[in-house]
Amino acid sequence: MSWMFLRDLLSGVNKYSTGIGRIWLAVVFVFRLLVYMVAAEHVWKDEQKEFECNSRQPGCENVCFDNFFPISQTRLWALQLIMVSTPSLLVVLHVAYREGREKRHRKKLYVSPSTMDGGLWYTYLISLIVKTGFEIGFLVLFYKLYDGFSVPYLMKCDLKPCPNTVDCFISKPTEKTIFVLFLVITSCLCIVLNSTELSFLVFKCFIKC
């Protein structure tokens, strides 16, 4: 089980998406998943090893690192990618359910199982809303956890067992800031694409009615 599994799962979603949905999928694959795998993951690889505090007190570095990074940015990024990709599977499941129904009743119940009408339209809409919700939720979580989207080079720490307020230095803060900003920008782009697709679907429905 690796990122290839998610990629294969999502490739199936492509068939049942609208045009904007396909652009969203391309953005997620290329600018988020691929960038995460080939670049971002390696930036955070040695984050704890290279985290250094100006104290020889054993345990001080561990405690300070844990306080500043309750969850690593790179793990949060991975969680965000998984949570944001999975609502699209609702659509795949619904189409599979329709195909199963047609097989059971042995007659044509729908124009085609993947035509976006009736229940499938609602499923698609709900998946868009949930995706957008997750994106915004994770961005807010990122902002709250790390006090903004930039990684400082120095943090002051005075937790036990550190003897006083010590300086702690983070490794590669500039590179990490660049990748966090990249994450935020691609996240916002995906939110814009999802909102556009949502409005387009609702507008199309109004015109039909």
């Binding site: 300086d167 490794s171 590179e175």
Partner: protein, 261 residues
Amino acid sequence: MDWGSLHAVIGGVNKHSTSIGKVWITVIFIFRVMILVVAAHEVWGDEQEDFVCNTLQPGCKNVCYDHFFPVSHIRLWALQLIFVSTPALLVAMHVAYYRQETARKFRRGEKRNEFKDIEDIKKQKVRIEGSLWWTYSSSIFFRIVFEAAFMYVFYFLYGGYHLPWVLKCGIDPCPNLVDCFISRPTEKTVFTIFMISASVICMLLNVAELCYLLLKVCFRRSKRAQSQSNHPNHTLKENKQNEMNELISDSGQNAIAGFPS
């Protein structure tokens, strides 16, 4: 998602590319992506671990490393390769959209004489003309812009393409001006120059492809203009013949008005 998946997607565009485009895709994947994955990662693997400063002051090494390498070379190359490959996705999307529209028309019964079945539509090589020409040319233009931009960023960030073996660093918390030593500077310089040369070759290939596409369009237009200018007398003669035929048929009908039709 990894370089293999990107290769699969870009490889799909290969079918509809010009010959220069096909050479470009080969150069990108063999001389840049492969070199990045098999060699550059090894060379830059221990870059921070083996970056040593002549001081025991905690935090000095971190701060100096961050100052001299705001973004690592391999990450910058990886981003460059991703950005340079993505315009090709525009072409892939355009071709997919064109095929979808053709398949829709085929299902309605409009293009039955051009294709045998829907599989035929999928296998057909789409020609680079009309709106696809614009998409393809824009993708090449963006590729050139991205290559140039990244090369400039590289030059600007590292003050050239050569890595020194020692750097002087006096940023807080370093107590004074300390010497900091980069690991494997010569090997890194060799790979940097290699990647930059491959970048330049790719840029030249893109420029050549763009010129080729422009020449092709100009040549096609001049051929069309030439064929129109060769046949104006022929068109005039045809029109006169049609008028005469109409007059003959009208007078003929008047002559036989007495007979029932």
